[in-house]
Symmetry: C2
Subunit: 158 residues, 2 copies
DNA sequence: GTTGCTGAGTCTGTCAATCAGACCTAGCCT
DNA sequence: AGGCTAGGTCTGATTGACAGACTCAGCAAC
């Protein structure tokens, strides 16, 4: 029983391309910090425990990718420094982060529960990731999710 | 202006724990394959281009984490071999994968679009990740998503 | 002028992981 | 016996992560 997917190329796969940006232990941890309002180098470093060199390298990569931008700030009595803020491209990673949080909460949390919650501005209710289809149905079971070739799909040539 | 998050520990953070499992370039690519029905070692290897040793190591880690399980199969004329199937824990990573796909499609796809689409069983409409709150509102803007300490949150001690 | 401070890096040496390429194993077949 | 093939393992080179130390550059105070 040969899976249909084998006939299709993964050369232009956007998951693989996204994971080339995100697929590393610390990147989403850095983004968690920025989403939480922690935007300065040393605050991030102390909070996350990431070695300086790795943090420098990650931040530079995220800036180069257009996920973060550097914004000058100056405390009284200090020189100009830079903090890191999300671009629109970066902000659009919220669903990824909430999805990872949901999975982590379900399978990896301590008995007292998650240390991080995400609320909805205005009503304050807990925000979660859901899967919905264009017809408006809520998709609750993984078995109702069916992968298929998309508009950019190409046949395999190897 | 000091972010409130600085007062809270990240020691038991479930995002960081999830990324300790997932936060590596190839893991989600492997999961993409399994979600697409490609479950055998050599098929995955050829499709993804992952070196054998890395693929072996990744698969073993995912089995150890309870995300995948090894299931024996036997083609006529061959010995028993194993393929890799998702556990419930693994199936629950669909929202993560669809979220990553959505971001990748938006920012990293070629002009002709995504090579992978996700349909809803029954109605066939495109499936997407959305953010919803417990009150039933759809949360469309990143600015309406507010992080806050969760039930397991602990004060910082350092 | 000097000295001290501190956030944000850079440097060095060690260790670990990735990678390419080659080799090995184990049931099946002839 | 040899051949096949899926699923590994091995070796050596390369690259990245990491710990710890060091550097730099504006500000302040003296």
């Amino acid at each position: 029983m040969r899976p249909a997917a084998l006939d299709w190329s993964v050369e232009n796969c956007t998951i693989a391309r996204a994971m080339a940006v995100l697929g590393e232990r610390w990147t989403l941890v850095v983004l968690r910090e920025v989403f939480n309002g922690v935007r300065r180098f040393d605050d991030m470093r102390v909070r996350t425990g990431i070695p300086r060199q790795v943090l420098t390298s990650r931040l530079a990569a995220l800036v180069a990718q257009g996920v973060l931008r550097r914004v000058p700030y100056q405390e009284p009595g200090s020189r100009v420094r830079h903090e890191y803020r999300l671009t629109d491209k970066g902000l659009d990673l919220w669903p990824v982060l909430v999805a990872v949080l949901g999975w982590g909460d379900r399978y990896l949390a301590d008995p007292e529960g998650s240390p991080l919650s995400v609320g909805h501005r205005g009503c304050d209710a807990e925000v979660r990731v859901t899967l919905r289809c264009a017809e408006g149905h809520e998709v609750n079971r993984p078995r109702d999710v069916l992968p298929r070739p998309g508009p950019g799909a190409r046949r395999r040539t190897d």
